[in-house]
């Protein structure tokens, strides 16, 4: 798992992808920071993390995940991975963690908004950390879904579109029936922005993540017999 993790993380920052992701995120964060705190004279970071999660992840997730497996399949390097003595589970987890680390870097940088607010008032630290934790869990669920999309195609564009569709379509479905909130990631991210640690939401997001990780592993395993 670790060699794959290290190599993937390195690849993010050898190509512009890692920097682009961090750049976009900071732009989105800063814009919402201005709108939700400074403009509305508030020291509540909840809206910041909610809106950034909703719109930022929509852009970042596909960029981070689309190449993970699709590129390997297209270039044939998948053959090197799958004929090595490493387990498929390890390979999938390594790639997953590398993408999560990029998000983690962004989150750590985002702590500066909390620091900025301390100059203007007394924001609460614990709720902010809970917001960040929620954000991380949400990003992990989105990344695992994106990685699954990458594992089922060799075309990165298709993989990206599937990921965006997965994140965006439930928003519209919600207006048809509340039942669709089950497949809507953002529905499991409603209490975190208020600084409340809800077991339901943690379990829900973690299950989402595990489910898509398993799907990815199954797809990669099946390729041996299908190909």
């Amino acid at each position: 798992m670790w060699p794959v993790f290290k190599k993937e993380l390195k690849t993010y920052f050898l190509s512009p992808i890692g920097y682009i992701c961090i750049g976009i995120f900071l732009l989105v964060f800063s814009t919402f920071f201005y709108m939700t705190t400074i403009q509305s004279i508030s020291i509540d970071l909840g809206y910041l993390y909610f809106y950034t999660a909703q719109y930022g992840l929509l852009i970042i997730t596909p960029i981070l995940t689309m190449r993970l497996f699709a590129e390997e399949r297209k270039n044939g390097t998948e053959q090197l991975l799958l004929t090595s003595p490493r387990s498929i589970t390890g390979i999938v987890l390594g790639k997953f963690l590398a993408a999560v680390i990029v998000i983690l870097i962004i989150l750590i940088i985002s702590f500066m908004y909390y620091v900025i607010l301390t100059f203007f008032g007394e924001p609460n630290l614990v709720p902010t950390l809970i917001m960040m934790l929620g954000f991380l869990l949400l990003a992990m669920a989105a990344i695992s879904a994106g990685m699954f999309a990458s594992s089922i195609t060799e075309n990165q564009i298709i993989s990206a579109i599937i990921t965006i569709a997965f994140l965006i379509v439930p928003w519209f479905l919600l207006s048809i029936s509340d039942g669709f909130s089950l497949i809507n990631l953002m529905s499991s991210y409603s209490k975190f922005p208020a600084g409340i640690l809800s077991t339901t939401e943690v379990v829900s997001l973690v299950s989402f993540t595990i489910m898509f990780l398993l799907f990815t592993i199954i797809v990669m395993r099946r390729r041996k017999t299908v190909k």
Binding site: N75, Q79, L80, T83, S84, P85, R86, T225
Partner: protein, 321 residues
């Protein structure tokens, strides 16, 4: 070392590999030979555990590839046909990554990587990005990736495709060198290559094994006639009568009238009869001047063609039925 037992691979209704069995012994260099689409790559992909077989089993050193992939894959280094590489890495980074994937211990990592770089001749370019390398160097990086971690078996799928003649000889030399310390399986559709490098040849056509033998045996087996090619100056036209004078000659064929007045013939006799001595005795008596006389060597190419075309003929017969 490697045992392939009754292995079949089907894609839907299409049978890519049809019940093949063979064995590769320790330290052998074996060539898989066959026309494009014969199933060479599929066979290699199954041995390396990239794809599963539909039926049968493959043992590497007694370890079943499908049941205990980790242990089996540890013993195999594989360079796939398309030579896939992580082009955004440098040569050294790539080889190091491959070494880590192959469970090389951290302590030995550095020395192992350097050893392989030295062995394959990549020292000059070790810090270059793979993307910027020429085809020949990329091929070497691919071989280095297969070699690292010192696996017992090295499997190379068409290692010389797309290289220039100089690079081809270099890669061949490298493979010969590897053959001394490893078991090597390589595939190719270039026959001279196989006959130069390999001790044993497995000829595959349409997913079936057509022949397994040494290159020289294959050459002998398929030649059931002795052919002598002969260039003579025959002013009196006595060549027509030659066939009557030499009883063992089955056929005397005129191949070509050369511009300088000489004629080229082919004389065919049974396998165990060598007519060369007789020709040298008789022709001067008939006032025929010999310019050139040569026994035709049958090549692996002939062997291959005849084996493949045998298959085709039987196929046609079956179709007619």
């Amino acid at each position: 070392m490697i045992q392939v037992k009754n292995v079949t691979k089907k894609y839907g209704k299409f049978t890519a590999i049809d019940n093949i069995s063979f064995e590769v012994k320790d330290g052998e260099v074996v060539g898989l030979l066959g026309p494009n689409g014969a199933g060479k790559s599929t066979t290699m992909n199954m041995i390396t555990g990239y794809i599963d077989s539909t039926a049968g089993q493959i043992l590497v050193n007694g370890v079943n590839v499908e049941k205990r992939p980790r242990k089996a894959k540890k013993q195999i280094g594989y360079m796939p046909e398309s030579v896939p590489l992580y082009t955004e890495l440098t040569v050294k980074e790539f080889i190091k990554y491959m070494a880590q994937l192959k469970l090389v211990k951290r302590k030995e990592l550095k020395s192992e990587v350097n050893k392989v770089i030295e062995e394959v001749g990549l020292k000059d370019v070790e810090n270059k990005l793979i993307r910027n390398l020429s085809r020949g160097y990329k091929q070497r990086v691919g071989i280095a990736g297969a070699l690292v971690g010192n696996p017992k078996v090295i499997i190379l799928d068409e290692p010389t495709v797309g290289l220039d003649p100089k690079q081809i000889t270099e890669i061949r030399e490298l493979i010969k060198k590897l053959g001394k310390s490893h078991t090597v399986i390589l595939s190719s559709h270039i026959l001279s290559e196989i006959s130069q490098i390999c001790e044993n040849v497995i000829i595959i056509n349409k997913g079936k094994i057509v022949a397994i033998d040494t290159p020289s045996n294959l050459e002998k087996k398929t030649s059931n006639k002795n052919i002598i090619s002969l260039t003579v100056e025959d002013k009196k036209g006595n060549m027509d009568k030659i066939k009557d004078k030499i009883n063992d000659a089955k056929e005397v064929k005129l191949i070509k009238d050369n511009e300088d007045g000489t004629k080229q013939y082919q004389i065919i006799s049974e396998e165990n009869i060598d007519l060369r001595k007789k020709l040298f005795e008789i022709l001067p008596k008939e006032e025929i001047v010999i310019f050139e006389l040569k026994k035709e060597e049958s090549t692996l190419e002939d062997a291959f063609m005849s084996l493949i075309s045998d298959e085709k003929n039987t196929d046609k017969k079956e179709e007619k039925r």
